[in-house]
């Protein structure tokens, strides 16, 4: 019992020592700390800008997808009204359906009338020559093809219309954007880690004597590594918070620019995701990446000097 407590006390003491060392080294090697910090911040900013572009781009494409992804279900021209009501009920009760509007022959006729520049073209026609239809939106755009297939089999349905090619192409684009951005983000991450580990290598190099001395006195590897890792964590944390502040500032500036453009031109081409919706996630991602960069960078750069 006493023995066990002894071990736990020792560990706590050592942890305290390491945290203290980590902080004091960060402070004592201020120049190196600043160099590493600059590296972390610039990597994160490049990373962040890219991430933002991807997020905004795919957000806008998804918006577009949603707007376009409308299914029109045409009914047979001479369908009995009761049968049409049945179909409407069936569609509206389908869990996949987000909204479903019934367009009566009269509505369709009115719309057509409005759409045509020369209303005289419709003279002599009655709404009866048109078909009744439903316009639907689905909760999940990806289910659209499957849904359309099913709807086509309903008796009384004449035809189904939805922008198949367009949606397929859009989905493909989105897939490529996702894959491409994953790839580039991973690449950026690897580059950042290597830049940072090179910077940390300089600080470690400056302290290789110290490491050597520790080894000769009989310090084990983790005892030597931990203060550097803690240093890496500190730099990663501070760097990610600073990067987040800069990113938010830039993002807000861009957002207000976009919305002022929208006021001037009456419409906006791009829609921004509100920062408050993604800010938390960005900060989280920054912190994770920053800390990983710091820690991995430290471990890589200390490794070589531990082999004495």
């Amino acid at each position: 019992m006493m023995f066990k407590r002894g071990i736990i006390q020792m560990k706590l003491r050592t942890i305290k020592y390491m945290v203290r060392e980590g902080f004091s080294n960060t402070y004592k090697n201020l120049l190196m700390t600043l160099a590493s910090l600059t590296m972390v911040i610039s990597s994160l900013l490049i990373f962040g800008v890219f991430l933002m572009v991807t997020v905004i781009l795919s957000f806008n494409l998804r918006q577009m997808e949603k707007q376009i992804a409308e299914i029109v279900i045409w009914l047979e021209k001479d369908i009995a009204p009761l049968e049409a009501d049945d179909i409407e009920l069936r569609l509206k009760n389908d869990v996949r359906v987000l909204e479903c509007n019934r367009i009566t022959k009269e509505q369709a006729f009115a719309e057509l009338n409005e759409a045509l520049e020369d209303p005289s073209l419709l003279e002599g026609y009655t709404p009866e020559f048109l078909s009744e239809s439903f316009r639907l939106r689905l909760k999940d755009v990806n289910q659209i093809a499957e849904f359309a297939d099913e709807a086509a089999d309903i008796t009384g349905v004449e035809d189904i219309d939805f922008p198949k090619d367009f949606l397929e192409r859009l989905a493909l684009i989105l897939k490529w954007i996702n894959a491409g951005s994953m790839f580039i983000l991973a690449l950026l991450l690897i580059i950042s880690v290597s830049i940072i580990s090179n910077t940390i290598k300089l600080t470690v190099y400056a302290r290789r004597k110290e490491i050597g001395i520790m080894k000769y006195i009989g310090a084990n590897d983790w005892f030597i590594r931990w203060p550097f890792i803690i240093e890496g964590i500190i730099i990663g944390l501070v760097g990610s918070v600073i990067s987040f502040v800069i990113t938010s500032y830039l993002y807000n500036a861009l957002e207000s620019y976009v919305s002022s453009e929208a006021v001037v031109s009456g419409m906006s081409l791009i829609r921004m995701v509100p920062l408050k919706d993604i800010g938390g996630q960005i900060l989280f991602v920054y912190i994770i990446i920053g800390v990983v960069m710091g820690v991995v960078g430290s471990i890589i750069s200390v490794r070589k000097h531990l082999n004495v």
Partner: protein
């Protein structure tokens, strides 16, 4: 305590560090290792410390087999050894006291124990008054005494010194050597690689002489050249 069995150390570039060296050093001995530059003195000490491993032969230190050791065991081997170098190797950003205390922190000693042992070690080397000073404010001889205090504070069974007086003037060198002798009197095995002919001759200790990596003499109460 230390045993070399037909040890050869060949460096990767082909240089011979040590050639077919065999000897034993008992607990409590004081041994000088002498020889011309490049004769293998440092190599011998590095093998004890597991800074290098033998190419052939076997080295035993305090029950550890240097020629066949797991990496994770190295710190534990070294905790039983005190080391002193020609260039002192003190941490410049720590005070004299902290430099010595550091050696105890590494082995996770109790703070109470650290507070008790560090002043004892500093007193032993005559530096009690300089505890709060930084290494660069000390003379070479004083710095070497700090590194001695650091080497001793964990009560190692073996003290290794590689040209501990190489950077010091003769009078100071003599002081350091007598300090090493004093430490030896307290029961620590002391092994010193040195070029200090006159001191070696005066102290009449065991002398292992190397030349081109070979042991050419191993004499109790020997002297530097051992030609007599």
């Amino acid at each position: 305590m230390i045993e070399f069995k037909a040890v050869t150390k060949r460096y990767s570039n082909g240089a011979i560090g040590l050639q077919d060296a065999s000897f034993t050093i008992q607990k409590g001995e004081f041994v000088f290792v002498v020889g011309p530059s490049g004769s293998g003195k440092s190599t011998l000490l590095k093998l004890i410390l597991h800074e290098e491993v033998p190419t052939e032969g076997e080295v035993y230190v305090n029950g550890f087999s240097i020629h066949n050791m797991r990496r994770s065991e190295i710190p534990y081997l070294r905790r039983g050894l005190g080391v002193v170098f020609q260039d002192f190797r003190l941490l410049p950003n720590k005070t004299v006291y902290d430099n010595v205390a550091f050696a105890m922190q590494i082995v996770e000693a109790q703070p109470k124990e650290i507070r008790r042992q560090v002043p004892v070690a500093l007193a032993l080397v005559g530096l009690s008054k300089k505890a709060k000073v930084y290494p660069d404010q000390l003379s070479g001889g004083e710095q070497q005494r700090v590194s001695l205090a650091r080497a001793l504070v964990n009560n190692p069974s073996i003290l290794l010194a590689d040209e501990p007086t190489g950077n010091l003037d003769p009078a100071i060198s003599r002081e350091i050597m007598y300090l090493l002798d004093e430490i030896n009197q307290r029961g620590t095995t002391v092994i010193v690689a040195t070029h200090e002919k006159s001191i070696v001759d005066d102290m009449e200790k065991r002398v292992i002489s190397l030349d081109y990596g070979r042991i050419v003499h191993d004499v109790q109460k020997g002297n530097y050249t051992n030609e007599a």
